[in-house]
Amino acid sequence: MIWLRRHARLAISVVLLAVLFALYIAIHPRGMSVYVMTIWSNQGALLALAALAQFFVVLVRGIDLSVGPVVALTNVAASYLVSGSGLQVAFGALAVLVVGAACGFANGAAVVYGRVPPIVATLASGSIYSGLALLLRPTPGGTIDDAVSDAVTYDLFKVPTSLILIVLVVLLLAIPLRRTRFGLSLYAIGSARDAAVMTGIRVPAVTLASYAIGGFFAALAGLYISMVTLTGDPNIGPAYTLNSIAAVVIGGVALSGGVGSPLGAVLGAFTLKTISALMFFSGLPPLAQPFFEGAILAIAIVLGALGMLRVRSRLERFA
């Protein structure tokens, strides 16, 4: 019971996703199958990686409006680099991830050392990144190694590979975030920056690292998109910025920093993608679908905020 109370926000996310997923399978014309699961999981994984990129920045009380542009830039970079011999593919993928981390690092530097508020710093840097993506590849195209793509976008023993990968990522992140000095520093900076400074946490370095990790995950998203679509497209960015923010909020990550978990961000991303998928098979007229998609997004966000109505002291709301 205590566990449930402590993790109430996460429990709501899990239940919401379970209900939506059950509904999706129920109305999907092909029902539950490996194929349907794989498509669903691949779509969810794309946004989940972008949501993790947003998560790391939001955790230290930042916001990253350049997630979409970095996704687009790394997606385009992958369409040049991730092909050829096995070694070339491996180094190409590595280079793509380095590009993403460098973008995140640059954002972090502008915020930490340039003292520019994150929202405008990443707004401006995002414009630069999406310009670079357009410069590299004005129209969608390029090639991606087929073998690698097949390996990560199909299924392993009838379980979608993307789902396995995302679960692995969440598990790999969970322990360092809660058990290491670096992980706890991230939460400390997000919940009380001044106290974190007093505690002796190297706030600038840790914040910078958090932005770089965010960029790394945005690059993973860009790389994974190239695996699914087999092209590089400079125009995919905008949707990822906004949806990554919506995903972390639905997943219970506080935009004020210091609250939330990678699992929450991933659940939020899958919830959002399940809503879109539901719409597609809902039988609603196609022209009415965008409205209901928006409305469900709004309801999901309001549900997450319902806790606020129970706050007894009105003063606590402004804390």
Partner: protein
């Protein structure tokens, strides 16, 4: 967003001394106009500059609404669809052929924007949802409504004649749009500096908690500011409708980022509580000049985005590091 920023400067209510961020932006405007004038002398003509004022009025009025919300420490991401929605509603009514509906075109557009702003404000005030997310969701719903209404085609109708007159007409050689912007600016400056409501806005951006303890109506003020911002967004939207002579899907999308950039470059803190209208005014001029001149120089879109982002980031860095020193 609503947290207290360490080192946030107090609102400059004196207004007499020259704000360094305003001086920086004005210098930026002069540099880009003179720089472009060397490449293309037409830029330095009175006609070209007056035309820039006409276009800047759209960004300027939109930035006025955005600034009020940003002063609270919030943000309004529903601007794009508030513009598009207003345009679709007013052109549909103005082109309906029914004289009664035609006269209602502009009031209905403005009412729609105010309503959207009120919904934004209620979500932020009652549910305490971060404005960034709530206005995003509202934007998504509005997008859905416009898609449903227009059927995905170009919306029918005609722009309201008054909107066309305001956007294209001139009074004593000065573009009407610019005069309208001056009027909006004067009213906003008065409101911010001389009314209790204006003081509440700055105070809420500084510390919502302290303002609450002082007994101010936090909820009502929040809703009123968002509603006013919605009204101004739809006013800017109407001007854009008149300027473009039509309504079309996605017409508001290109305005969200430049409008926020205009406010922030002008020295308004994105964390709320500090900033002058003069800053927003020159910020809107700067953003308009920058984008006009980049397209005049026939930059490819990719280079434009890079230069755009680079200049904004550069100005913010100069502004910040000087303040820190």
């Amino acid at each position: 967003m609503s947290s207290l920023a360490p080192g946030a400067s107090r609102p400059r209510l004196s207004g007499l001394r020259i704000d360094p961020s305003v001086a920086l932006v004005v210098a930026g405007c002069v540099v880009i106009v003179l720089g472009a004038g060397m490449v293309s002398p037409g830029v330095l003509s009175l006609g070209y500059l007056l035309q820039q004022l006409q276009i800047a009025a759209i960004v300027g009025i939109l930035a006025t609404g955005a600034m009020l919300v940003i002063l609270l420490g919030q943000i309004d991401l529903s601007v794009p669809l508030t513009i598009t929605g207003t345009a679709i509603v007013s052109t549909s009514l103005a082109g309906s052929g029914n004289p009664l509906l035609e006269t209602l075109a502009i009031p209905a557009g403005l009412l729609g924007g105010t309503l959207i702003g009120t919904i934004n404000g209620l979500g932020v005030a009652i549910f305490r949802i971060p404005a960034m997310v709530w206005t995003l969701a509202v934007n998504a719903m509005l997008l859905g409504m416009t898609v449903f209404y227009t059927g995905g085609f170009k919306p029918h109708g005609a722009p309201p004649p008054l909107a066309v007159l305001m956007a294209h007409g001139r009074f004593a050689g000065i573009p009407n749009a610019f005069l309208l912007w001056l009027l909006v600016g004067a009213a906003t400056t008065f409101m911010l500096k001389r009314t209790v409501f204006g003081t509440y806005i700055y105070a809420m951006g500084q510390s919502q908690r302290a303002l609450f303890l002082a007994g101010a109506p936090i909820g009502r003020t929040t809703v009123a500011v968002f509603a006013l911002a919605g009204f101004l967004s739809s006013l800017g939207g109407l001007l854009l409708t008149g300027y473009a002579n039509q309504a079309y899907q996605g017409m508001g999308d290109a305005y969200l980022m430049p409008v926020i950039a205009a406010v922030v470059i002008g020295g308004t803190s994105i964390l709320g509580g500090s900033g002058t209208y003069l800053g927003t005014f020159v910020g809107a001029l700067f953003m308009t000049l920058l984008s006009s001149i980049l397209s005049l120089l026939q930059m490819p879109d990719a280079a434009r985005q890079i230069i755009f982002g680079g200049i904004i980031l550069g100005m913010l860095l100069v502004h910040r590091s000087r303040r820190a020193a």
